[in-house]
Amino acid sequence: MEVSRFRLLFLTLLAASVLPGCAMFSRNRDAAPETAASAQPPADDANKSIIEPQVERREIKRPKIEASDFEVGVYGGILSIEDFESNAVYGARLAYNLTEDFFLEASLGRSRAGRTSYENLSGSAEILTDSERDYTYYALSAGWNALPGEVFVGKNRSYNTAFYLVTGIGSTRFGGDDLFTVNAGFGYRILPTDWIAVHFDVRDYIFDTDLLGKKKIVNNLEAHLGLSVYF
């Protein structure tokens, strides 16, 4: 009973939202030819009575101002997986600079977990299978360029830099489970040219897990070096 009433509401609302949209289509189609027809004749008359100019109209084509607000890059470093040793991590990132102060970032990383000390001491007991030791994460983050600046190399060279803070959400696939992950960290960016950035980042990936029996909050720290290009 409850569901059939819901379906009725569903259909009514569907009709209510679609029908006005359809009406708009037909209205636009009708309106266009009408105005074209009524505007044409007077313009023709006016043109005939005036001497036709020999000058061709110059068409001004504005070159597009190229925006380079996006960054794409790769990174590699070390990820310490709590209870499961530290291992190499590598990943890719895509960032969009909203303003000179803020940016958005999507990143995808991969690592592999080692063995817990329990597994090492007991000798044979395996907590995770081989494929469950693969560690993959994605993160959607927002960043703030807290301390922009310049560094000076010698007398004649200076490079633009920024110290930034990042935080975001995402998911981690580890131990046969997907885990909601919050990340936070900081980084330092240096630009050897206008369109290349070298990053050094430190991130903490935090999630809840009951992998080792009892539910607990896990902090996985990552330090990585990255290279990005602006486009």
Binding site: V18, A67, V74, A92, N97, E100, V229
Partner: protein, 247 residues
């Protein structure tokens, strides 16, 4: 090992593309008494050069609200957007910065965004993309990733979204649609099996035009999961905050 190599390929393509883009550049005339060239695209970077009124410069590129310009002596620096607004094109008309504004928001067609929230007690990460038929009505594809204590899941839904007052900065909207949901219960539970079901939803939300091409969104959806059991399942979905842009 396949992923890193394809990434490097992407990197090379991007490098090649940025190297090629040097051909047609916009020239402008300075109309203010002078404009200031900063060493970097930010308010704190020092001014190292000044260009006087009447001189011509070339716009190389733009980054956020800063424009990299080049003088005829090949000096390159960054100029703030406020100063660029006072410059002229070679035709004498004020410079058109070619940036999206409120008018473009009304005539937008494609849009996409990310939202975060709660799906029946599980954490929710949601991504959406849409196409607008008219100012009011658009079709949207939403992909959800649910991460809970008992189960994880994905869902993909296609629906209609009706923005009630598109000309307002903050407008309510109504949405309705259907799709599929995949639920994967955690392995620690007994007798649980993963399943795919159809899902239908009705909901509403608020869309706020932020600036340039950006929008904020907040949304509620009432979902019905059409299970193969005797009873259907009803799930409340709250997307507290989302960020979207149009293009």
């Amino acid at each position: 090992m396949r992923r890193p190599s394809s990434l490097w390929l992407l990197l090379i393509v991007v490098l090649a593309a940025s190297a090629q883009a040097e051909e047609k550049l916009q020239k402008i005339l300075i109309a203010d008494p002078f404009i200031e060239l900063h060493t970097g695209p930010g308010r704190g970077y020092p001014v190292f050069y000044v260009i006087e009124r009447g001189q011509e410069v070339t716009i190389v590129k733009r980054r956020t609200d800063w424009f990299q310009v080049r003088t005829d002596r090949d000096i390159e620096g960054w100029v703030a957007r406020e100063q660029m607004l006072a410059t002229l094109e070679p035709t004498g008309a004020p410079l058109d910065l070619q940036e999206p504004s409120r008018e473009n928001y009304l005539s937008r067609r494609w849009q996409a965004g990310v939202m975060a929230g709660d799906f029946g007690g599980a954490s929710l990460i949601s991504m959406f993309g849409g196409y607008a038929f008219s100012d009011n009505l658009s079709i949207e594809l939403t992909v959800n990733h649910m991460l809970g204590d008992i189960s994880n899941g994905y869902s993909a839904t296609l629906g209609l979204m009706h923005l009630f007052v598109p000309e307002w900065r903050l407008s309510p909207y109504f949405t309705i649609g259907t799709g599929v949901i995949y639920i994967d219960p955690k392995s620690t539970l007994v007798k649980a099996s993963d399943r795919t079901d159809q899902i239908g939803y009705v909901g509403g939300g608020l869309q706020f035009y932020l600036t340039r091409r950006f929008m904020l969104r907040s949304e509620y959806r009432h979902n019905i999961v059409f299970t193969s059991r005797d009873d259907n399942e009803e799930v409340d979905e709250w997307k507290y905050l989302g960020f979207a842009f149009f293009f």
